[in-house]
Amino acid sequence: MTVRSRKEIHLAAHFPGVDNTTVRADPRSRSQIDLSSFEHLARTAERGLFDFFFLAEGLRPREHKDRIHDLDVVGRPESLTVLGALAGVTERLGLAATVNATFNEPYELARRFATLDHLSGGRAGWNVVTSSDAFTGENFRRGGFLDRAERYTRAAEFVEVARTLWDSWTPDGVSRPFAHRGRHFDIAGEFTVPRSPQGHPVVIQAGDSGEGREFAAATADVVFSGWGSGGCPPGRHGTRYGSLEAGRAFYADVKRRLAKYGREPGDLKIMPGVGVVLGDTAAEAQERATEIRRQQVSPQNAILALEQIWGVDLSAYDPDGPLPEIDPVADSVITQGRTRRGDTVVIAEKWRALSKEKGLSIRETVIEAGARQSFIGTPDAVAAELEEFVRRDAADGFILLPHLTPGGLDEFVDRVVPLLQERGVFRTEYRGSTLRSHLGLERPEDRGRSGRSTSGHPSNPDDRRGRGARCGERRRVVSGREEA
């Protein structure tokens, strides 16, 4: 391997799928269920030489005001099964899925990921998320929920056990018995799957909180972050400089934590989830971004977003009229199955201030406050910005969040990827065949029978939300738990 003077960008794509992120009013919008949609996006990502393609998880349709929420795209196939099929229509692209550690057991899940790693020739990745949600728990044997601190200890132990299982066969194909006794799991026996091509499928961690960062530093290969440490995407609150600096601060903070786990900075890749909107001119890109936001926030959706903050029925309000005078209800459960978004009273105050300052209606306020297109501009400008964020250590790469199924990656791959290649910051061909090789991660050595338990536990569960809340309502949607 030659020494590169420029830091290479890693790219991944998230299947837009569900929620009002996905613009379905667009005439080019197609099924979020059919394999053909997944295939188109995955093939496009592979044509663009992306590191991986990434599916979110849903475990129960959301409910609002005690009824199933009906405004947004909902319904999705089960991720690992879709990835099994995609392994048959792609050759090099990494294939990752969000799978909840709360409502699964390590033996079965480790086996499913090891199988996918074999079937795909070493391209499997797992985004570990946890749920504290009793609403979702109603669909599972386990039921109930975990408090926040328990979620991370379960996730850490879950990953540790999975790696013990992945390591339980010798590299030359001999099965060795395993035994694990911990706070959450007490299991023993033999694993049914030999060591897979990557040794360990790639582990991804989503979430920016203090516990999340510590968990990532101890355990993960990739961080799927919001925008930096609560920083906001360019073109929104504050300046582009502000988000670059926030990204740099998050990046430095997470990388700094690696040393105590005996890991190098390169062992963990930081990849924020971002949107991209392109245009032939900057003005056209801005116009398109505005139109996309209007499509995402229909009048009905604006009222819904408001109800989620205010915690009460606001159906009598006019989406094109002013914000309610009444105060929000704290700790309302008007919406179920959606990630909590911090102090709603504080958010409501901010929205009011925003509305007053700019003279915005309800719908305009929701559009303004929830915007999340991150890179908006000409292909040249976007390529330059992406490069700058990586060069200046605000990220190692990006997970694109397209808003259109299935064509949402086409333009980026056709117009931006070649510019990144010209700049010498993105690969012009796949050099390896596994996801680990795309990400520049080492294949884990065989830890053997006695040397396991390298994973640490988050030791500093402070800083609950980071500075996240100020980015407004949408940022946690990227955690891949939008329905769960």
Binding site: H69, P77, G84, T192
Partner: protein, 361 residues
């Protein structure tokens, strides 16, 4: 006697099991071979007790490499989550465009229980009762979205008609599920449920919930007896017995080429072994056996497990199946595209639909 003798179409299925294979290639190759022979479906076994890959994952990988043959993985119900199981099976149906089945099985050993650490081993009777509940809850969750729930209505901004999504509020002996599913109703409505009912404990669950029942029987009389019993039990639980397909499950060893069946195989019939009933002989004699049992109304077809997967499946397709086709006893092409169509089973109505609009929309 409830049997309808020899009137139904002949159904053939083959097992793809290759325990030491973890790469996709050999499975794809065998599934394509089975598809070339027009077989109804292929099965792939799964257990936590012995080495082998996750079967449903393997067949999801096979799906885009095939276009007609049914894909039936084993998915166990003892240590798994019913909600995840039904979602994965429904998704296999989506990615295969209506070709998914699910062979239901239980995990009976203490060794398997220790891999999960959530419960101890339990008697087979109890495990099969639970498997029946999982089969039931799965079908309810498949129905929890009506076929036309997705409306994408521009005027009202609604994506779904929420009156067509249903909580199922299932309360079983060991688990409960609120629903609805997160996966829309799969193409077949209900993917095909398969149960091996050779053991008595599985028979009640098979008669009540299975579309296809496998019986490992070494003689025609034994197979016919189990089939009659299953059809009677199906009728008792309120089903039309003609919605049940009973297949004889045999190991086949076609290594002797065109030679006649070994003496001691009962004139080309199977012989009981420790691994189950085994047919050993030539493909032509196997065709005779298949034709005879089917024509006599003993079974609706056969599920064959090649002893040497590649060799025996090739001889099965190029020899046995070709001969059955030549004699007009087996299809020469797939007239339908879903596994239900291959099996001659209707797409089930949705139990939650108020109107008759649920069928085949």
């Amino acid at each position: 006697m409830t049997s309808s003798h020899g009137r139904g179409r002949l159904h053939l299925a083959a097992a793809l099991d290759q325990p030491t294979v973890f790469d996709a290639g050999p499975y794809v190759e065998l599934a394509r071979l089975a598809e070339r022979g027009g077989l109804d479906f292929v099965t792939l076994g799964d257990t936590f007790a012995r080495p082998g890959p996750d079967a449903l994952a393997v067949l999801s990988r096979v799906a885009p490499a095939t276009s007609r043959v049914g894909l039936v993985p084993t998915v166990t119900t003892t240590h798994t989550e019913p909600f995840h199981v039904q979602a994965a099976v429904a998704t296999l149906d989506w990615v295969s465009r209506g070709r998914a089945g699910w062979r239901i099985d239980v995990s009976a050993t203490e060794g398997e229980a220790r891999l999960f650490g959530r419960r101890h081993a339990a008697p087979a009777e109890e495990l099969w009762r639970e498997a029946g509940e999982v089969a039931d809850v799965a079908a309810r969750l498949w129905d929890s979205w009506e076929d036309d729930a997705e409306i994408r209505d521009v005027a009202t901004g609604r994506f779904i008609d929420r009156d067509k999504l249903h909580h199922i509020d299932f309360e079983g002996a060991g688990f409960s599920v609120r629903g609805p599913s997160i996966v829309p109703r799969p193409p077949q409505g209900h993917p095909v449920r398969v149960v091996d009912a050779t053991e008595g404990q599985a028979r009640r669950t098979a008669a009540r919930y299975a579309d296809v029942v496998l019986v490992r029987a070494a003689s025609a009389a034994q197979a016919a007896a189990v089939r009659d019993q299953l059809r009677a039990a199906a009728a008792e639980s309120g089903r039309d017995p003609d919605t049940l397909r009973v297949l004889a499950s045999l190991l086949v060893d076609l290594g002797d080429g065109e030679h006649a069946a070994e003496p001691g195989h009962g004139g080309g019939g199977p012989r009981q072994t420790a691994q189950g009933p085994l047919y050993r002989g030539g493909p032509v004699d196997l065709a005779e056996l298949v034709a005879a049992w089917h024509t006599d109304g003993v079974v609706d077809g056969f599920h064959l497990t090649p002893v040497e997967p590649r060799r025996d499946l090739e001889r099965l397709v190029n020899g046995t199946v070709a001969l059955l086709q030549h004699r007009g006893l087996f299809r020469t092409f797939y007239p339908g595209s879903t596994l239900r169509e291959h099996l001659g089973l209707a797409r089930p109505a949705n139990r939650y639909a108020v109107t008759g609009g649920a069928s085949a929309s």
